[in-house]
Each structure stands twice: as structure tokens, then as C-alpha cells.
């Protein structure tokens, strides 16, 4: 015990308030969740403090003296059973105070779990130039202590192991390899996770860059009406510029939906054209349209790649239907009954039933009615009851 005390006193730790006046053992330990820790605060005899006058706090909360044990006049220990996960990444603050509350020494506890095996490792290449990989932490998804993930890769048949260097702060479980990737040869890729409590390695995936190619969404997507056709819209786009350097064909897909509806309709068989017509749409309605691209036939193969992101939604509306306006053809009530008025009322009724509304109103229609009236006049006795056609 004395030798341990000596060891603690001579640890070259420059304490904030006084040099080597007090120290805690263990200093900044990492422990699994649920462990029991016994920590010891040792004070220099020069301070003139007795161990029984000291107290402990954890994360600002004073610990009960029932958990203390006076080991010697200058050493006080505390036992913490069943430690929960660390509250913050920088560690839990276990502090030894003198009776007045003044801080003598501190130790930061890292309570967490060893990393679980990373899972769901997937990678894709943008236009065969680069490789982005993403994975998930595995297990419960959180270790509570600082865990480092390293993406490693190597060519399967030869070459040394390399590490991915560009990790994104915005997307924690991903990494980007910007250049120097070989084609037509398989890579082995995996993720290693390490923290103070252990390490784990994901399964190795094997891929050829050309197996996992995606591209940019099509550019210049425009949606326009097709003349006066009230149920058609025409969609045009350009193939992504990056593809023109490659021996790709492109396959496209369109999806569209009503403005106020979240269900997308997908058009799959667009092939490799750069325009398409949507039909069977609702008149006078706003539609949102998106297009995406798949680089197919990489260097002559028939393999499909990975679909790009959808292009930004483009909106357009179909023309209003003429039929909709036919409601306005209803005659108003009141007013004197003139012959003309009565005739017009009959005419409008006929138009509604025979000509599908007042959209094609013209003198020709009036003449047609006149003809019909003459004919029906002859057979009035038989067909006077509401003519439905």
C-alpha cells in the first residue's frame, strides 16, 4: 500500500491547483457499462488534510459517504457499482474534494461498450471515378465512448492494404475515396471499428468498381403541355454530362404525382430516349415530375448500374378541360318569358344532352338544333319525353 502511495505521489501529473498535491487512481479509465469501479484519491501529506475530511462527486453530484473507505490518513477510496453509460463523449467527471468543496483532483470515466461488428457495408462509384462507402455501427448502434471507424480496401489479387482518408463529419458512417481506383479488377473492402474497450471488423465485401456505378440525375428536365391536349404532358431531359465520356447507355425512369398527393406513378419503360409523353392525366391539374438515370452497358456489358438520385421536381399543369365550363350554360331564372328566351332554354338543354356541353358553341350547333327540332316536331307525339342520348 505504501509503495502504491509513493507511485501515485510521483506520477508526473501537473495538477491544476498545485503540483503533485493530489491524484486519483485510476486516471481517465475506460470501462464497460455495468462495471464496478473503486477509485482512490491520494493527497500529499503537505496539504495537512485527513482522508476522512475529503468527499467525492460524480458529474457534479456528491457521492454518499457510505460508499467511501478510508485506506490511510492520506488516501480515500470510493466504490461505484453498476456504472451506467457515460453522459457525454468527454467522459464523466469523478472529482475528489476537500471538506470545503475545493477541487483536489479529478478523473474522467469513459463507460461504454466495445464496438459491435459494423454491418450493411455498401459502396457505389460516381461515373467510375471515385468510391463512396457507407456502413452502420451494428449492435445497439451506440458505444457511448469515442469509437474510430476505419474503412480499408485492397485489390483482391495483389496490392497492399489502404485506408480511406476522407471521412465526412456530416455523415458519420461513411467514407470517400476520390481517385486512383482500378477497373475490371475486384476490390476487397471492410470496416474496422476500435475504441478503448475493444475492436470489431465488418465482413469483407468484394466488388468491381464497374459493378456499382451510378451517375448524376438527368439535367435540363422540362415539362410542357402538348398543344391543347388536356390529359397529356411532355417531358424532356438531357443525359447527364458525365456519361458522354463513357461507353454507357443510359436507361431512364420517370415518376410523377399530383401536387397534393404523395403517391408517385412510375414509368419504367422509358428506355434510352430523352423525351416522353405522359398521358391519361387529369385536366387542369398541377403535376410534379422527376427523372432518374441508370448507366447501363458499361464498357459493353449488359449490366445495369445503380439508379441515380431523382432530378429536382419540375412542375407543370395540364390545360383545363372545356367541359368543365359547361356548367355556366345554365340559364338563369326570373325575367319575362320571351319566345327567344324559351327557345334558348330549349337549345341549351339540347346542347347539354347532345353536344357534351357548351364547349363547341357555334352557329353551326344552333343550326343542328334547328334541324333536330324540325325532325322531332314531326315525331313529337312519340318522343316528347326527355330525350337521352
Amino acid at each position: 500500500m505504501l509503495s502504491l502511495l509513493f507511485l501515485i505521489l510521483y506520477i508526473p501529473a501537473v495538477m491544476p491547483s498545485s503540483s503533485q498535491m493530489a491524484g486519483i487512481f485510476p486516471q481517465d479509465p475506460a470501462l464497460p457499462i455495468g462495471s464496478t469501479l473503486t477509485a482512490t484519491c491520494s493527497v500529499s501529506p503537505d496539504l495537512g488534510l485527513h482522508a476522512s475530511s475529503l468527499f467525492w462527486s460524480l458529474n457534479g453530484r456528491r457521492l454518499p459517504s457510505s460508499s467511501y473507505s478510508v485506506l490511510s490518513p492520506t488516501a480515500l477510496s470510493v466504490t461505484l457499482p453498476g456504472l451506467p453509460a457515460s453522459r457525454q463523449r468527454s467522459g464523466d467527471n469523478l472529482v475528489c474534494h476537500n471538506h470545503g468543496g475545493h477541487v483536489l483532483a479529478g478523473s474522467c470515466l469513459y463507460i461504454g461498450m466495445p464496438p459491435a461488428k459494423p454491418v450493411n457495408l455498401t459502396c457505389w462509384s460516381r461515373n467510375t471515378k471515385d468510391l463512396t462507402c457507407r456502413w452502420a455501427p451494428g449492435g445497439q448502434g451506440e458505444t457511448f465512448i469515442k469509437t474510430k471507424y476505419t474503412l480499408k480496401y485492397k485489390l483482391r489479387w495483389y496490392g497492399r492494404e489502404r485506408e480511406c482518408e476522407e471521412y465526412s463529419a456530416a455523415q458519420p458512417y461513411s467514407c470517400y475515396i476520390p481517385r486512383d481506383l482500378a477497373l475490371f479488377t475486384p476490390y476487397e473492402i471492410w470496416v474496422e471499428a476500435t475504441n478503448q474497450l475493444g475492436s470489431a471488423t465488418s465482413d469483407v465485401i468484394t466488388l468491381d468498381i464497374l459493378d456499382v456505378v451510378t451517375t448524376d440525375p438527368p439535367s435540363g428536365v422540362s415539362v410542357s403541355r402538348v398543344g391543347d391536349l388536356e390529359d397529356h404532358l411532355s417531358v424532356r431531359w438531357e443525359s447527364p454530362p458525365a456519361l458522354k465520356d463513357f461507353l454507357f447507355q443510359a436507361k431512364y425512369q420517370i415518376r410523377y404525382r399530383l401536387e397534393d398527393n404523395s403517391d408517385w406513378k412510375v414509368m419504367d419503360d422509358v428506355g434510352n430516349q430523352t423525351s416522353c409523353r405522359l398521358a391519361g392525366l387529369r385536366p387542369g391539374t398541377v403535376y410534379f415530375v422527376q427523372v432518374r438515370c441508370n448507366p447501363v452497358g458499361i464498357y459493353g456489358s449488359r449490366r445495369a448500374g445503380i439508379w441515380s438520385e431523382w432530378s429536382h421536381p419540375t412542375a407543370a399543369s395540364t390545360p383545363h378541360s372545356e367541359r368543365v365550363l359547361s356548367g355556366s350554360c345554365d340559364s338563369k331564372s326570373g325575367d319575362s318569358n320571351s319566345t327567344l328566351r324559351r327557345e334558348l332554354k330549349q337549345f341549351f338543354g339540347w346542347v347539354r344532352n347532345h353536344a357534351y356541353g357548351c364547349g363547341g358553341m357555334s352557329i353551326k350547333l344552333y343550326d343542328q338544333w334547328r334541324v333536330w327540332m324540325q325532325k322531332s316536331h314531326k315525331t313529337r307525339n312519340q318522343v316528347l319525353q326527355g330525350d337521352k342520348s
Partner: protein, 227 residues
């Protein structure tokens, strides 16, 4: 027209004078660029006003920085931040006359920078990468460096005959050696607390200096009389 060309200017003495003049000008030019800082000439009042605005900004941000720092270290009572540590710059501006006080502001800014840098390095290991603390620390460093450069320029303009002493490389203001995590937490808090207090004093000081050294028609020629 005389056949021979009369040499109007005696060659040797003039060229020597020219050379001397050139070297003097060169030295003067180098002198006004201190520590790689190129200073743009501005009227006294507006330079100090700009620096005052910058100081107020950094001061405001330093309050938020300290708050963010404390939250990310876990429950830390004020006790931690008030512990005394050697080698962290004190927040007080020293000096009797304006030139000394301005110099004190400048050297304090420079003195805080390596400590801010050290806190940033330590916190990079302690915090998750997405922590806003790290970007706030980085901003504080950049702005403080900018402020130091501004004060440097104003000082040179106002007191061109007083040299700025070179910064000590590994002197007593250097950062402490490696610390355990708890010490790092305390150190960071002390640095940021003193930094905030320092900026509060600089704000007051720049206001005073502005009224003392910048008269309404202060030109650069006049300011020589003040030093």
C-alpha cells in the same frame, strides 16, 4: 550648342546619395510590414472603431463559446473554471500610456492564441466530430488573430518609432505539457474564462484609446508627437 555633353550632376556623390536614399526607403518599407502583416492606411478613428467592433463580436461569441464548452464537458461547477493554472495569460491589460496599453492588447492576443489552439486540439479528441464547440473554437482563433493584426497596424501607424518586440517562441507563455483528461477540461475552462474577461477589458480599453489618441484631424504626421 556645345559639342560635348556637360555632366550636370557630379556622378559619384549623387549615386551614392541615391543608393543611401533607396536603402533607407527599403528599410522603411520593410519596417512598416511587421510580422508579415501589410497595413492599409486609414484614419485613426475609423481603424480603432473597426477594431472595437471586432472586439465586441469576439467578446459576444466568447460568452457562447464558454457556455458551449461547459456543457460539453459534463456537469462542471464553477469551481473547475476558477482553479488557478500557471502559464495561462491573465486577462489584465497593463501599461501606463496609450502605446504601452496598445502593445499590451496586442501581446495578450498573441499570447492567447497558442492556448486556444491547444484547447482546440484537446477537444478534438474529446468531442464528437459534429460538435459545434470545435467550430466555435476555430472561429475564435481566427478572429483573435485578425484583431492582433489590426492592433499591430494601428500601433505602427500611431507610434512608428516604437518597435514591436518579437514574440517569444518557447518562453513562459508556452502551453502546458501533456495533461490527463480532467486537467484538460479544467485548463480549457480557465483559458476560455480568462479569454472572455480579457475581451471585455479590451473593449473598454479601445474606447478609451480612441478618445485619447485620435483627435478629429489626426493625421499621420501629427501622431508622431504623441509618442
Amino acid at each position: 550648342m556645345s559639342g560635348h555633353v556637360k555632366n550636370m550632376c557630379p556622378q559619384l556623390p549623387i549615386s551614392q546619395a541615391a543608393r543611401t536614399l533607396l536603402s533607407l526607403l527599403l528599410v522603411a518599407a520593410i519596417d512598416s510590414v511587421s510580422a508579415g502583416v501589410v497595413c492599409r492606411k486609414q484614419p485613426c478613428g475609423s481603424s480603432l472603431q473597426i477594431s472595437l467592433k471586432l472586439t465586441k463580436l469576439i467578446h459576444k461569441e466568447s460568452a457562447d463559446l464558454l457556455k458551449t464548452y461547459k456543457v460539453s464537458q459534463g456537469d462542471m461547477s464553477e469551481l473547475f473554471c476558477q482553479m488557478s493554472i500557471n502559464n495561462v495569460p491573465d486577462p489584465n491589460i497593463s501599461g501606463l500610456d496609450p502605446s504601452e496599453r496598445m502593445l499590451s492588447i496586442y501581446s495578450h492576443c498573441k499570447a492567447f492564441l497558442p492556448h486556444l489552439k491547444r484547447v482546440t486540439e484537446q477537444q478534438t479528441d474529446l468531442q464528437p466530430p459534429s460538435s459545434s464547440l470545435l467550430s466555435k473554437l476555430s472561429t475564435a482563433q481566427n478572429r483573435t488573430n485578425g484583431l492582433a493584426n489590426q492592433i499591430n497596424c494601428i500601433y505602427q501607424t500611431l507610434f512608428p518609432n516604437l518597435p514591436i518586440p518579437p514574440e517569444p517562441v518557447d518562453g513562459p507563455t508556452s502551453v502546458p505539457p501533456s495533461q490527463n483528461v480532467f486537467q484538460q477540461k479544467v485548463y480549457g475552462c480557465v483559458v476560455l474564462k480568462r479569454f472572455k474577461e480579457f475581451l471585455s477589458r479590451v473593449t473598454r480599453e479601445l474606447r478609451t484609446l480612441k478618445s485619447q489618441v485620435c483627435t478629429r484631424r489626426t493625421t499621420f504626421a501629427d501622431t508622431n508627437a504623441l509618442s
